[in-house]
Amino acid sequence: MSTMEKLAEIIRTVFDDDSVEIGSQTTAHDVDGWDSLSHINLILALESGFNIKFSQKELLTFKNVGDMHDSINAKIALRGDGVGKA
């Protein structure tokens, strides 16, 4: 499963919506229920799902799912095990 597929699966689980279409241009506006509070749940789920940690500073730079995807891939590459990378 690619990073984007796994990312999309986590977003669908967190927001309890199997039907939502996720792509790199998807933003919080496109997903019902994605507000600043549920965003914390998503970050926790991503950290847990990919075994990574985001810094506070990084979180402020995410404008869309594509930014999240790139950050996750960079962390996986840094970790060196390649698990979950597209």
């Binding site: 309890d16 509070l37 914390i40």
Partner: protein, 536 residues
């Protein structure tokens, strides 16, 4: 002949009669950059169509109808159209989960609801438990596309654009909002059409609205601010509103204030505190010269926010105090009244407020008491739906007890002290600890739960949950995530605990009541006080 007191009539038809047919009632700014203008003439026609839709479906005055929508034009057409039909009209926050919806729709035996396709997934699992619910109307489905769901577009397409609003007595029930208490399920706070008198007056005197203003109230229509001052007050004065369908975003919000030429802005302390964290350079990028008046509501506005407003926005920020039950602003800072940073201000015209002891005697100035209001104002709630006993208990010794504690200084300014119960005020939203505790207990791994409020720099109060785990269960990141998602999806994102503390058991008194006072003391590291009632 006396004037028709119907809120729907006064916000739409009356404005057209006053010559505002071509005047813009609202500019809608969509989440993907869409922009649409709606005149009072359009508002009159679309609300009339929706009233005709409801009439055609057989609705009768006094039945309950809800909107469950984000900030989209249909929200306003449905809300006012339903009021024109003299239905009791409720609004539901669009992030409510299934449990929250079931509690509210079930309690008042709602007959109908308007929503959108993507929210149907929350309604389908509970529909069987809502036997009174006759109709679900969706704004973005076509006819026969979804089983058991009516198409808004199809119904509106067949409805006539004129509707004679029945003469409505001012005492007729109107708007219904559910509010959380410290015990039991949320209670339906019921208002009457007469409320518009107070909402109109305070929109003038406190929000300082004038005919040519561009006004932006950032509150969601799911909460009372979003209806009293995001629909009724401003439109009863024929004022143009901005309605933005999108979450908080510092840059986007500044862009709206600047590009739309907003003159009056009503927002929340949480949003202001988040803006305070931005670099001052952000605000210099935008021309805010048209902004004349800024007000705030939801939770106490700390003095730092007022000083920030003066320095960065070049404006005073006027804190206002009121609650769902009061229907409109009761105590405020406002034009002509010097601001004392941190104070709630003074009671508005026609409102008598006092800090009183539990026997109804006003306490001396400077001392803390129960914040009380003398009953009888226009926008005072008329009942808790199905809970008349709870309603009556709020009134005694000639006062309405608000549940807040405050003190009055020698010059008549009021200063908020806190709640007199366990209700949590997080980001301006009241959350019942009971509701969160109940949701936590639905999780197999949790056997006991206790929920408290703790101070927070941004949210004013944050939700802290104490949980005791079932035998053999271990706390883990996965379990934390499960807990957070369960509460967010079953109740709402607002009710999600910010912190979860695992303990061996929840302290209870001898009659089994959770001793939240002890949990608070443990969390804050303060003296727990009297432990004699603790069930050891």
């Amino acid at each position: 002949m006396s004037e028709n007191s119907n809120i729907g009539h006064l916000c739409a038809d009356k404005q057209c009669e006053a010559g505002l047919t071509e005047h813009v009632a609202f500019r809608w700014l969509g989440s993907r950059g869409e922009r649409m203008e709606c005149t009072f003439g359009n508002l009159q026609r679309e609300t009339a169509r929706f009233a005709n839709v409801l009439d055609g479906l057989g609705y009768k005055a006094g039945e309950v109808f809800f909107t469950f929508l984000p900030k989209v034009p249909e929200q306003f057409f449905a809300f006012l159209g339903s009021l024109k039909m003299r239905l009791i009209t409720g609004t539901l926050f669009s992030n409510f989960g299934g449990d929250a919806l079931l509690d509210r729709l079930g309690d008042c035996a709602a007959r109908g609801i308007i929503t959108r396709r993507s929210f149907l997934k929350k309604l389908r699992p509970i529909r069987d438990r809502l036997p009174a619910l006759r109709h679900i109307i969706a704004v973005d489905v076509e006819e026969n596309e979804e089983p058991g769901v009516l198409s808004y577009r199809s119904l509106m397409g067949k409805a006539a654009p004129s509707f004679v609003v029945p003469d409505t007595d001012p005492e007729t029930p109107s708007v219904l909002h559910y509010s959380s208490g410290s015990t039991g399920k949320p209670k339906g706070v019921l208002h009457r059409h007469r409320s518009i008198g107070h909402q109109r007056r305070t929109a003038q005197e406190v929000l300082d609205l004038r005919p040519d203003d561009i006004y932006w109230c950032t509150a969601d229509q799911g909460w009372v601010t979003g209806t009293s001052y995001g629909i009724i007050g401003p439109w009863s004065l024929g004022v143009t509103q901005i309605h933005h369908d999108g979450p908080y975003d510092a840059e986007r919000w500044m862009q709206i204030l600047s590009q739309e030429g907003v003159t009056v802005w009503y927002t929340a302390p949480t949003a202001l505190r988040m803006l305070m964290r931005e670099d001052d350079g952000l605000f210099r990028k935008f021309d805010l010269s048209k902004l004349r008046h800024v007000c705030s509501v939801g939770e106490p506005l700390n003095p730092e926010a007022i000083h920030w407003g003066r320095k960065v926005l070049g404006k005073e920020i006027h804190d206002t105090w009121w609650q769902t039950e009061t229907g409109g602003i009761m105590i405020s800072n406002r034009p002509g009244l010097p601001i004392r940073p941190g104070s709630m201000g003074k009671p508005v015209a026609g409102i008598e407020a006092a800090a009183v002891a539990s026997d109804g005697t006003p306490v001396p100035d400077g001392q803390q008491g129960n914040l009380c209001l003398r009953p009888g104002w226009d926008s005072m709630f008329i009942s808790y739906f199905n809970h008349e006993d709870v309603y009556r208990k709020k009134f005694h010794h000639g006062w309405y007890f608000t549940g807040d504690a405050a003190r009055r200084d020698k010059d008549g300014y009021f200063w908020f002290v806190g709640r007199t119960d366990d209700v949590i005020n997080t980001a301006g939203h009241l959350v019942s600890p009971f509701e969160v505790e109940s949701a936590l207990l639905e999780i197999d791994e949790i056997v006991e739960s206790g929920v408290i409020a703790a101070p927070d720099d941004i949210l004013f109060e944050k939700i802290v949950a104490f949980v005791a785990l079932a035998k053999g269960c271990q706390w883990s990141t996965a379990l934390e995530l499960k807990v957070r998602m369960h509460v967010a999806n079953r109740v709402s994102s607002i009710a999600t605990p910010q912190e979860i503390v695992v303990i061996d058991s929840i302290p209870k008194n001898k009659s089994g009541k959770i001793m939240r006072r002890l949990l608070k003391a443990r969390y804050t590291g303060t003296d727990p006080g009297d432990l004699s009632t603790l069930d050891a």
